[in-house]
Amino acid sequence: MSITVVYTIVTLAVIGAVAAVILYFVAQKFKVHEDPRIDEVDEALPGANCGGCGFAGCRAFAEACVKASNLSDLNCPVGGNDTMNSVASLLGLEAVKKDPRVAYIRCNGTCDNRPKTSSFDGATTCAIASSVYSGESDCQFGCLGYGDCVDACDFDAIDLRSELGVPQIIDDKCVACGACVDACPKSLIELRKKMPKNRKVVVSCRNQDKGGVARKACSVACIGCGKCMKECPFDAITVENNLAFIDSDKCKLCRKCVAVCPTNAIIEENFPPRKVKPEVKTEIEPAK
């Protein structure tokens, strides 16, 4: 009886020793050399794995940072400049300062502004609805309101308010990862420069139809009249295909365009009430 126990222990010990030796050599042979800095950079990143940087996740981004010779093309939108500074100091590189961005849904076609002319009873996702037809209103460019962007957002930064019919971005939660930009089949969402106090002046419309058609479909559509473009002292506004666009990098938030827009397609947000013309304020305040 006791001899069996001894045999067992000895046999197992021998097998263990042999396996250990084999494993040691195999491990030596197939050793993967990994730059220890990748772990350090990975540690410094937010770990959201949102893909906003354009890579498959934080680890892939860390690898790209370690390989890169300069950081000008790499940016973690979630962490922003602070994170990129710490990554740069870990790698001994120069950090490139980038303006923080925030997503904005360029459609103000709420139930009041954009009457419904038909109703859809198919699968309730924007991707399918847009592949079948143009939408419940006469505007073929506007928001469908089924919330593919809400599903795509990992940060709970989009609020689908059914009473409005159009989702709204919660600026303080948005990290500008761009997931919603890709999810929107109508390409309504844009990453704009984040202004102090979340202030915004933006053409909240993507309708490229001619003025009359656009206006018939939606009361706050951009009709491409170009008044804002003439008014803008900073050349921030361009009009193309009957649609105005305000470049957020050039805009200085003077709000002159807001005042001249005949259809209230240009929206200002988070400004204090105007002092000079208090009666204009009620008209141009965005629907909330």
């Binding site: 198919g122 699968a123 991707a127 143009s134 073929q140």
Partner: protein, 443 residues
């Protein structure tokens, strides 16, 4: 014994309200809008401009590649504009607007109703003429007919199948055509047989049209090689692959064309169009459209010029009845709901269906209860519940392995689902994505 296809299928209520209504010629509209993309393949290129005078039968848009067709003016008058206008989906499509003035036809067209039986030209010429006449499959898929008639290298067609099944509920345009243009269709079939160089043709007709079966059996005795096959009523028997299976018992391999089993399928409407194009020099400028629905005052079959607005048809049938929930272009199973009545009749419009509110309602979508009815009825032997989930979760590589591209979009799964799940919506979405992936891989 009646034949039918082997796998799946459903039998929705037939509701062929307009089957006894003779084909009437719809009065000429005031304006027409003729889209340049009415077929599968590249859109045609407009060759007229604003202010041009056009005659009936004149080419107004030229085919731009092999898989494309010419578009002819269906009316005479002045071109108002060449512009984009929203079609049934609400997205703008290019087309030609013509203001109708008089009814002047191109001279070569023989407008008489006399039957011309003698075939005077040979096969390749027939195909060329079909191409020039802008003929597409009139069953609804609108695939250019001349492409079908030229088999890929190394393959040979053995039999021509003529689709007189009309398995969609409500629709009766093919049925009426078979009753009223019987001989013309038979001559058209002979022309197609000659073009393809086959000596056998089978007309498949479902058993709910006994008058058409009887008439065609009697008439086809004087035509060599044509026979009629009566089929059990089963949807989607009018699908190409289902018809082949029902008549010949052969199964088209996954991803293959019907020619792989030696068959070519054409609709009876197409056969009639071929007859007119070759014996009468008349391009495809009009077609039979059924206008029907339970609330419709006068369900009818109209001979309609291509480009006529749907509203004219609806007016002629007695207007839009109250409590209409949906207006569908095509049949109830595969047709598409349209947003406005401005949508024009195109080469593929086989019917306009006005559905009542209670019929149109899809019902509340609840969870899948794993009853597997969708799998049982799928005529392609697929698993629709699985394909839907894969489409929903966007797992496209797996969807491709599950043969999502074999789906013929017949809608039997959505029809039969007791939980009212939008199976086909998701499958069609997945098909679009998988198709795009496959094309990008080929490049």
């Amino acid at each position: 014994m009646l034949k039918t296809f082997k796998i799946g299928g459903v039998h929705p209520p037939e509701n062929k309200l307009s089957k006894d209504k003779k084909i009437e010629v719809l009065p000429l509209p005031k304006t027409v809008f003729i889209p340049v993309a009415q077929h599968i393949g590249a859109p045609a290129t407009p060759v007229v401009k604003r202010g041009d005078e056009v005659k009936v039968g004149q080419v107004i848009a030229q085919s731009s590649s092999f898989v494309s067709t010419n578009i002819h003016s269906s009316v005479s008058g002045k071109v108002k504009k060449v512009d984009f206008a929203a079609d049934s989906s609400g997205y703008p499509k290019q087309g030609i607007f013509i203001d109708v003035e008089g009814d002047e036809w191109v001279e070569q067209i023989d407008r008489s109703n006399d039957l011309v039986k003698e075939i005077s030209i040979d096969g390749p010429e027939i195909i060329k003429k079909i191409q020039e006449a802008g003929i597409v499959g009139l069953g609804g898929a609108t695939f250019p007919t001349h492409v079908k008639l030229v088999p890929p290298k190394g393959m040979k067609a053995e039999v021509l199948l003529i689709n007189g099944v009309e398995c969609e509920p409500y629709l009766t345009s093919d049925h009426r055509l078979m009753l009223e243009k019987t001989e013309e269709i038979l001559v058209g079939i002979q022309l197609l047989m000659k073009a393809m160089n086959v000596d056998k043709a089978v007309i498949g007709i479902e058993n709910n049209k006994p008058d058409a079966i009887k008439l065609l059996i009697q008439k086809c005795k004087s035509y060599n090689g044509i026979r009629v096959q009566a089929l059990k009523v089963q949807y989607p028997q009018g699908g190409e692959k289902q018809l082949i299976n029902a008549v010949t018992g052969k199964e088209v391999p996954s991803g293959g064309l019907p020619i792989a089993v030696g068959a070519v399928v054409s609709n009876v409407g197409t056969a009639f169009a071929v007859y007119e194009a070759i014996q009468k020099n008349k391009p495809l400028i009009e077609r039979v459209v059924t206008i029907t629905g339970k609330g419709v005052e006068k369900p009818s079959n109209f001979m309609v010029r291509i480009g006529t607005a749907t509203s004219e048809l609806v007016e002629a049938a007695g207007g839009v009845p109250e409590n209409t929930g949906k207006i569908i272009s095509g049949g109830p199973m595969m047709g598409r709901a349209i947003r406005t009545l401005d949508v024009p009749v195109t080469k593929g419009t086989s019917g306009i269906l006005l559905m009542k509110n209670e019929e149109a309602n899809r019902g509340e979508c609840i969870s899948c209860i794993r009853c597997s009815r969708c799998t049982a009825v799928c005529p392609m032997g697929l698993e629709p519940y699985l394909l839907m989930t894969l489409g929903e979760k966007q797992i496209f590589d797996r969807a491709e392995n599950e043969r999502i591209m074999d789906c013929i979009e017949c809608g039997s799964c959505s029809y039969t689902c007791p939980s009212n799940r939008p199976l086909l919506d998701y499958i069609r979405f997945g098909k679009g994505k998988v198709g795009a992936i496959m094309r990008s891989r080929k490049k």
